[in-house]
């Protein structure tokens, strides 16, 4: 079964690169530009794994993760946090909010795939 990945990032460049890498790896890719849009996607579609940025307008990644975890429906949805090298404390916040793991920007395509495979059933 094709895995469906939701990527949430306000940078088009990152979204484009994620899309490329993930779809090349055979995943189905859904995209959202902020946490709010991400929640909308989750409301309407089943997703196997989420990759989310932290710094975003409207709703940031931390809020987004908290909302997903609070929804009841997605308590065991793997959520990977896409972080930069500087955001150790952000990563901790993300983890505290319920993030499953993280991916460091700039991401290595192979590594990205293996990280996803590590958290999905």
């Amino acid at each position: 079964m094709t895995l469906r990945v939701l990527t949430v990032d306000d940078s088009r460049t990152i979204l484009a690169m994620l899309h490329h890498t993930l779809s090349n790896a055979g995943f189905e890719v859904l995209q959202a530009e902020d946490g709010r849009q991400g929640l909308d996607v989750l409301m309407s579609q089943d997703v196997d794994v989420v990759i989310t940025d932290i710094n975003m307008p409207v709703m940031d990644g931390i809020e987004f993760i908290k909302n997903v975890r609070a929804s009841g429906q997605y308590q065991s949805l793997p959520i990977l946090i896409l972080t930069t090298e500087t955001s150790q404390d952000k990563r901790d916040q993300g983890k505290a909010a319920g993030g499953t793991g993280w991916i460091v920007k700039p991401f290595d395509p192979d590594k990205l795939i293996s990280v996803i495979q590590r958290v999905v059933h």
């Binding site: 306000d10 990152i14 909308d40 710094n55 308590q75 793997p78 499953t100 700039p106 590590r118």
Partner: protein, 760 residues
């Protein structure tokens, strides 16, 4: 990666949006709006620039953006105060970021120390602000090295926190290839973050030969079973050649702090699965967690109870054999009944129940703001073009309905009317897709004014009005240069020094007002200033010196003002050194002409001046006069036509230079025979031909002689350069209703501007 170039294009595209956003935000911040939203927005913008730059290995940009971002982060969380100095520094930093982005784009090299001064100031401010001294060493640019290689996977090194270092520092990091014992006890929160011991075990099994033993604690009765509870820990022996501790630790990277892990090298010997002390040591941990479980608050209990689908039988029956398949054999047969420790709730919650849970938020989420999609501009252009064609076809159909047909086919006529309405509506909607607020251009101007004020030592403020006025994107793109020139002129030559202003009874600070408004089918963009106005004496003197105005001609004030647009007038360096206007105004004119607009200037001595740009709403459709030259149809933009005259009644005169002029109501106008100009043979006798009298910029006229006038219509402009090549005197092409191609005459391009010839 072959698609790297595409990604880069996206990135640079995004950067230019982000830089515009920065400009806008800082204009507001400078004006005193220092709220959290703005600070977050500027932080995010720099963060995104950096994120992409990292992906492409633009090291210098990453380094600078990183230091800048850190400063912004400190400002954002209040560690650094946003003083005027900091704002000024940030505005400068925006320029440096823009330069870095540009250098990355063009491949040019900036000086190695470019922006270093600002960077060290960030550092200084950040340190001062944090008060804590120097823990943020990454400000010093060390980070740059991490980005030396594209797509460096940096996960492992970065994620060993202090607590774990303590635990493991006694262990030698480099252990002989062989076997390891891993003891793993999850805590409750591990499940809450959607991590799953099963997946970790699966991951370990990828590393090498694996032997797993589940150590059961006290498993409650199924009725008391709590899905996220901890009832089990694992002992794993793992062996593979060259297996390092780091590799094992990486598997547990995401769950550090959420579990207890011990990794012990076995030096090749396998640990017995029945090692006596292991279960008891882990039992303690389990017990304490179990105690946690017992200490659940009433709310939590209620929550657990409310989870409808954790039916006692379901987890046991469904989970184990299925997902543990590849591990099942490895797990000791002696293991007590396998309770699905990590049974993920969502997997077994029936959809209906899940839905009920989400309903409240569901309603809230529906109220999301404007939604948008991003579309390739080419696609929109295609639609715009086709709709324009549709509009033209429709009006052609309507025109062909003569009175007799109208009387006979009333239904058809009604249908055509509805069609006309719908087509117009469609055209408006399609045009609206490409429309953009002029804000995107206006927002670049405050910085320009700021720079000019600094450079000239004047006090200048910029007011912008109507920045939400929308214009077609293709028009907007052409606006930046002309506006820059016009504002530079106002600041350079219009606004006076504070002393002069005071002497003239004006406030020290001069005002430049930039406004946009819609006026019918046009957009007016006006640049006004309250400066000294155009120095007409000076301008006229210069024009005479350059031979632009003959000595015996005395132009009106308005004509003098228009002189600043004359090509050649502004090209001499001398002009910019005196107080006359004119720097680059011919550039303004040609740019605006190119997009079918016009420029007018008015000046009031001592009070200021006003430049008005009149722009079409869109570039796609043009109202034209269809004429014939030789056998070929040509179109002349209607906006430039003053009148048409039959040649037989016109008064032509020969001039010594060999050309012809036409006398129209006492004014001499340069004559251009279009047939001659394009080397064609006229089909008509001289006095049967027509003159199309056109006005070019600066109110100068030109008389085009054509063979026949066919009528007015709308056409869709096609670029000649894209489809063929640039031709002087031709502004583009169009396809007529009958399928013929007609060329669009570029009136300004045809005209050779020679004042003295007019005067002859």
């Amino acid at each position: 990666m072959s698609d790297l170039d595409d990604f880069k294009a996206t990135y640079f595209d995004e950067c230019s949006e982000l830089l515009t956003e920065l400009e806008e935000q800082f204009a507001a911040i400078e004006a005193g709006e220092r709220d959290a939203d703005r600070l977050n927005a500027v932080f995010r913008a720099i963060h995104s620039v950096k994120g992409g730059a990292g992906a492409f290995g633009f090291t210098a940009l990453v380094g600078f953006a990183h230091a800048y971002e850190t400063l912004l982060d400190y400002v954002r969380d209040g560690r650094v105060e946003l003083t005027d100095d900091v704002v000024t520094l940030c505005i400068k930093a925006n320029d440096i970021v823009a330069d870095h982005v540009n250098a990355a784009k063009t491949g040019d090299e900036l000086p190695a120390d470019y922006g270093h001064e600002e960077k060290s100031r960030f550092d200084l401010i950040a340190r001062g602000g944090s008060g804590a001294g120097s823990e943020d060493d990454d400000l010093n640019g060390e980070i740059i090295e991490e980005f030396d290689i594209e797509f460096t996977p940096v996960m492992v090194q970065l994620n060993i926190d202090d607590a774990d270092e303590d635990t493991f520092e006694a262990l030698p990091l480099e252990v002989a290839p062989g076997s390891w014992e891993v003891r793993f006890t999850p805590f409750r929160q591990l499940y809450a973050r959607a991590n799953d011991p099963l997946l970790l075990l699966r991951e370990l099994s990828v590393l090498g030969e694996i032997n797993v033993r589940a150590v059961m604690g006290e498993v409650p009765a199924l009725s008391d079973f709590e899905p996220f509870g901890v009832y089990c820990s694992w002992e794993i022996t793992l062996s593979a050649p060259d297996l390092t501790e780091a590799a094992i630790r990486e598997v547990f990277e995401f769950v550090e702090g959420d579990c207890e892990i011990t990794i012990v090298p076995l030096g090749g010997a396998r640990i017995s699965s029945g090692q006596p002390d292991a279960p008891s040591s882990h039992a303690a941990v389990q017990q304490s967690d179990y105690a946690d479980l017992l200490a659940l608050t009433d709310d939590e209990v209620a929550q657990v109870a409310a989870r409808p689908a954790v039916s006692p039988a379901a987890p046991v029956a469904e989970e184990p054999a299925l997902s543990f398949a590849d591990l099942a054999e490895e797990i000791s047969a002696a293991t007590p009944p396998r309770v699905p420790v990590a049974a993920p709730v969502a997997k077994i919650v029936p959809p209906a129940a899940a839905k009920t849970g989400g309903d409240g938020e569901d309603g809230e989420r529906r109220s999301v703001g404007v939604q948008s999609i991003r579309v390739d501009l080419d696609k929109v252009d295609r639609v715009v073009n086709m709709v324009s064609e549709l509009v033209i076809t429709q009006s052609m159909l309507t025109q062909q309905m003569d009175e007799t047909l109208r009387a006979r086919y009333t239904e058809l006529v009604r249908g055509l009317e509805v069609l006309a309405q719908t087509t117009r509506g469609l055209q408006d909607s399609v045009m609206a897709i490409r429309a953009q607020p002029v804000k995107s251009v206006f927002s670049r101007m405050p910085r320009l004014v700021r720079e000019l004020a600094t450079k000239t030592g004047k006090k200048i403020k910029l007011e912008t009005i109507g920045e939400n006025t929308e214009i077609d994107k293709t028009v907007i793109e052409q606006l930046s240069d002309p506006l820059t020139h016009m504002i530079r002129n106002s600041a350079d030559h219009g606004i006076e020094d504070p002393e002069k202003r005071r002497a003239a009874g004006k406030p020290d600070t001069g005002t430049i007002r930039l406004s946009a408004e819609q006026a019918g089918g046009n957009i007016l963009i006006i640049v006004e200033d309250d400066g000294a106005g155009i120095n007409r004496e000076r301008v006229l003197q210069l024009a005479r010196d350059k031979g632009l105005v003959a000595p015996d001609i005395t132009p009106t004030d308005e004509q003098i003002d228009q002189l600043i647009f004359a090509p050649g007038f502004s090209t001499a360096d001398a002009v910019s050194d005196i107080s006359g206007r004119g720097v680059g105004m011919d550039v303004v004119l040609s740019n605006i002409k190119k997009i079918g607009g016009s420029v007018h200037v008015r000046s009031w001595t001592g009070k200021g001046s006003r430049m008005t740009l009149r722009l079409p709403l869109t570039l796609a459709v043009l109202d034209v006069m269809l004429v014939k030259v030789g056998e070929n149809p040509y179109v002349v933009p209607l906006s430039s036509i003053v009148e048409t005259i039959q040649c037989s009644g016109a008064m032509f005169e020969r001039v010594p230079s060999g050309g012809q002029v036409l006398q129209v109501r006492g004014e001499y106008v340069q004559v251009i025979d279009v047939a001659q100009r394009f080397e064609m043979v006229s089909t008509k006798a001289a006095d049967e031909r027509f003159v199309v009298l056109c006005e070019t910029e600066g109110s100068q006229k030109v008389a085009l002689v054509v063979d026949d006038i066919i009528g007015q219509q709308q056409v869709v402009i096609k670029s000649l350069e894209e489809n063929f090549e640039r031709v002087d005197g031709i502004a583009g092409g169009t396809i007529l209703g009958d399928g013929n191609v007609a060329l669009i005459v570029d009136v300004q391009g045809l005209k050779v501007t020679q004042f003295h010839q007019n005067a002859a």
